[in-house]
C-alpha cells in the first residue's frame, strides 16, 4: 500500500516535471480571450412561424473581455426560411442586459434570408464577459414557409466586418471563431400520421385489454 502511494507520488512529480515547460509558456504568454460566436441548431416544421434560434458569444479564453458593441449577420440560402427579427430576449443572459441601446429589437434588416443584428452598450464602459462565460447576442425569430424540403439548412455567420465585436474604446475585438448553426426542417408526411394513429390505437387497445 505504501509502495503504491509512493509510486503515485513519483508519477505525480514526473508529470509535473514534464508539464513545466508548458506551464511556463502559459504563464509567460499574454492573457488572451478566445471568443466564439455560435449560432444554435434548431428543428422547425414547414410551414411554421415564430421559430427561434439563439446566437451566443462564448469567452473560452482565460480572461474576461469587455465589450461595448457587437454586430452579427446570419444568412441562409433556403428561400423558404425568412428571418424576421432579433431581440435581446436571449436564452443565455443577453450580453448587454440592462444596458442595451437599441433593444429589445436589435435587428436592422428587413425580413429576409439575411439578418443584420447589432447593439451598443448604452452606458459608459461596457459589458464584461467573464472567462468561460456564454452570453446571448440575439434571439432570432424566423418563419419557415410551406413547401420547404426537409433537411438541414445551414445558418452561416458572415465574416468581419458584418460580424464584429468592439471594446468600449471603439477598437475592434477579434472573434476567434464563427460557428454556424442549422435549422433542421421537418415536414409532417401522411404515412407518419398513420403510424401515429396506429400507435395510439394500439396503445388504447392495450390499455383496454389490461383493464379487462
Amino acid at each position: 500500500m505504501h509502495e503504491i502511494r509512493l509510486q503515485n507520488v513519483r508519477s505525480l512529480f514526473r508529470r509535473l516535471f514534464m508539464m513545466t515547460p508548458v506551464l511556463g509558456l502559459l504563464i509567460s504568454a499574454p492573457v488572451e480571450a478566445s471568443l466564439i460566436i455560435t449560432v444554435g441548431n434548431v428543428f422547425s416544421n414547414s410551414p411554421s412561424s415564430s421559430n427561434t434560434l439563439e446566437v451566443d458569444l462564448t469567452n473560452t479564453g482565460p480572461a474576461a473581455v469587455s465589450l461595448a458593441g457587437f454586430s452579427f449577420e446570419i444568412d441562409v440560402t433556403d428561400p423558404h426560411i425568412t428571418f424576421t427579427s432579433a431581440t435581446i430576449a436571449t436564452v443565455a443572459t443577453y450580453v448587454f442586459a440592462g444596458n442595451s441601446l437599441f433593444g429589445p429589437i436589435i435587428s436592422t434588416s428587413l425580413p429576409g434570408q439575411t439578418l443584420d443584428v447589432s447593439d451598443v452598450w448604452a452606458a459608459a464602459g461596457g459589458a464584461t464577459i467573464a472567462a468561460g462565460a456564454t452570453v446571448g447576442l440575439g434571439h432570432v425569430s424566423f418563419d419557415v414557409s410551406a413547401g420547404d424540403f426537409p433537411g438541414l439548412v445551414t445558418v452561416a455567420l458572415s465574416p468581419f466586418p458584418a460580424t464584429s465585436l468592439s471594446d468600449p474604446a471603439g477598437a475592434n475585438v477579434s472573434v476567434d471563431a464563427l460557428t454556424s448553426g442549422s435549422i433542421t426542417v421537418k415536414v409532417p408526411e401522411p404515412s407518419a400520421l398513420v403510424l401515429v394513429l396506429l400507435g395510439l390505437f394500439a396503445l388504447a387497445w392495450t390499455r383496454k385489454c389490461l383493464r379487462q
Binding site: A68, G69, F70, S71, E73, L101, F102, T108, D116, S118, V120, W121, A124, S158, F160, P161, A162, S164, L165, S166, D167, P168, A169, G170, A171, N172
Partner: protein
Amino acid sequence: MRRKGSGAIMRLQRLVGKVRACTHTHSTLGSISIALGIAVLSAAALGQGWPQWGQNPQHSGTIPVAGQSLSQVLAHIVYDPFAAQEQAENFGELLVHYQTPLTNGQDVFMEFTSGSYVSCNPPGSYSPFPCGNDNWFNQVWNEKRLHWENGQLIEKWSFASDWKPAPDAGGELGGWQPVFHAALTGNAVWVPGAGGSVFKLSIDSGNPLGRFNPFGSTIDPNTFVSSPITVDAQGNVYYNVLKLNITNDPTTNDPWSFGPNFDGNNATDIPDAWLVKISSAGVINKVSYKSLTFTPPTRGTCLASFSSSDLPWPPSPTAMPRTVPCLSQRPGLNIAPAIAPDGTIYSVTVAHNPYASRYAYVVAFQTDLSLKWTASLRDRLNDGCGVLVPIAITSVPQASSCRFGANFGVDPATNQKPAGRVIDQSSSSPVVTPDGGVIYAAYTRYDHARGHTFRFDANGNFVAAYHFGWDSTPAVYQHNGTYSVVIKDNHYDAGNYCDPDPSRPVSQIVCVEAPKGPYFVTQLDPNMNIEWQFQNTSTDATHSNGFQWSFNAPAVDLHGNVYANSEDGNLYAIRQGGTLLGNIFVNQSLGADTPLSLGPDGKLYTESDGTLFAIAQVPTVVSYQVLFGSQSFTVPGGRTNLPWTTITGVKVTFSEPVTGNASSLTGVSVTGFSGSGTNTLTWTFSALTRATYNTKVLGTTANAVKDLAGNPLGGGVDFAQILNVLPGDVSDDGNVASNDMVLVNNARSMAYNVIDDINGDGVVDLNDVSLVRARIGTHLP
C-alpha cells in the same frame, strides 16, 4: 579660373598665342578691349509689355507692372539647339548674346536658331575650316511668336531671317557671337535681316510687311545689322550697321583689323558704319559714323598697352606703350541705340583697331541724326595704381600690384589715366537716365576685369563712375523724385591687371588670380554711390563665396523689385533695400550673361543654356474641402475614408482669385457651381454614395481653373483628389463595423468632432449612431 567676361580675354589670349606662333613677335596685349558708353534714361515705360532691349527706348529695364511671385516654371523652350556644341567650342562657356524675350499681351517673341552647326575637330581648334565659330553662317536665325494658351506657350508663327552675325574670323571676336535682337512696335515685329536691312513683320501673322534696306536693293553679305533694334515712342526704328572687310581666305580675313601680324599694325580700316533710323512712316535715314567729328578729336595713332615682358606694369613712371593706328570710330558690336524722351539718340563708338579699344566715345545724335555731342571715355578715371591696384612697396615684383614707384591712379597697362574700353564681346548698351543723361558700362582690365560704369549728363559732361561695368546694361529705377542704378557686381577670379603666362616667370608673381567672389547685385544712387547690395550666398565645392550673377540686363518691376539670374541656377527677386523677396531654381549653367524681361501680366522670362524659361505665380490649391450637411472637412486631413452620408459639395480654396466653371471639377456629376472670380470655387452635386471618386480640379483644357492673369492652375497641371466615401467608417480602417458604432456612440458625450457627425447636422447624436449601424458590414471595393 573660369569667369564670365573673361571668356573674351581668354580667347584673345589664345589668339595672341596663335599670333606669336605665326609671327614670332611678342604682342603686348594681355587681354582684350574695351569701351564704355553712357546713356541715359527715363524710367517711364512705354507700354505694359517688354518690346525691346531694356524694355523701353531708354533701356531702363523697368516695367510699370508688378512681377509675379516666383512660384513655378510655367514653360521652358529650347531656342538654341546648338548651345551644347557652342559650349564645347568655347571651353565650356556659351559665348552667345541672346535676344531678350519680348512680350506683348499674351504673346512672347523670341529668337530661335535652326540650320546646322559644324563643330570643329577637336572642338575649339578652329579646324577644319570653316567650323565652330567660323561656321555661324550655316545657322538660321528665326523670330517666333509664342502665345499663351491653357498654360502653354504655343508657337503661332516663325519667320526665318537671312541675317547673319558679323564673323568671328578665326577668333577675332573671341568666339562671342553677336546678338540677333528684334523689337516690337504697335502692330509689327522688326527683325534684323542681311546686308544691314530689317524686316517688318505683321505681329499677328508673321508675314513680312516690308523689308527696309538703307543701302538700296543690294544685300551686301559684308554688311551687318550689328545691334539690337531700338524703337521709340513714335514707332521710329533705330539700329547700327557695320560694313566689314571680309575675304574667303582665312589666312587673310581680318574684318576686325588685328593686322597681318596680329599686332594692330598695318591693319585695314573698317569700310564704314552707320546709325540707321527708319521713321514710323517708313522713311530710311542713316548717318555714317565715319562722318562724325568727335570731341576730343580722334587721333591717327593710339596707345596700345605694355608687353608682358615688361611686367610688372607700368615699366617705369615715364614709360609709354607702343602705338597702333587707331582706325575709324565705329559702334561697338551689340550696342543698342538708346532714345531719350526728347529724341536724343545715344550710341557708343570705339576705334576699330582692337588694340585701341581704350579710345571710345559716347555719342549723342539729334533726332535728324546730326551730331549733338560726343564724350570720350578716356581720362575720366583715376583709380588705377594706388587705388584699385596696389603699388608695390619695394622694387621686388609684388602680387597683383603696380610696379614700385608707379604713378598714382594710372592704368598699369598704359601708364595713362584709365579709360573705359568698348569691346565687341560685350553687350553693354547705353541707358538714358531720367535727367536726360546717359549711362554706359565699359570694360576695364586693371580691376580684375570688372569694368566701370560711367554716367554723363545730358550735355555729355562726365558725372561719376562705379568700378564695375563688364557686359552690363544697368536698370534705372525711378523713385521718390530721383533714381537708382541697378547692376550686377561680380568679383571675378582674374589677375588684377594681367594673367599668368607660363613663358613669363614674373607674370607668375604679379598676375595672381583673385579668389572667386563675392558676387553682388548692387544699387547705386545717381552719383554712383552704393545704396544697397544683395550678395549671392549659394555655395558648393567650387564656389565657397557664392555664384556669379549671370544677367547682362536686369529687370525691375513696379515696386522696384529687382529680378536677377545667377549661375547657381536660380532666378532671384530682390526687394528694394537688398533683401530677398523670393527665388526659384531654373537651371544651373555656365552660360553667357542673358537678359530678363517681364510680361504685361508680371510673368518673368529668363534664359539659360539656350532655353527660355517662363516663371509666374500660378494659382495653386490651398485647401480642398468636402461639404456635408452644414459641415465641411478639409481633405485629406489625415484620413483615407470619408465617413459622412451627406457629401454634396466640394469647396476649393486657391492661392489667388480664379475663374472656373462647373466642368472645372471632374470625377463627380456636378449640378451647381459658384465663386468664379474669387479665391474659392464651390461645386455641388447629389450626395455621394459609397464609392471611390477620382476628382480633378482642372488645370488643363478649356475648362481649366485660371487666375485673373490667365495662368492655369498649377501652371497647367490638374489637381487630383481622391474621395473614398465610406459612410460610417469613422475609425478609418476601411470597414464599417461595430467599433464605428461604438465610437460615434461614445462621441455623443464628448466634445463635438465633425468626424463623428455622420449626417453633418452639427451634432453627434443617436441618429449618427444609427447611420453607422445601418452600414455595418460595408467597405469599399
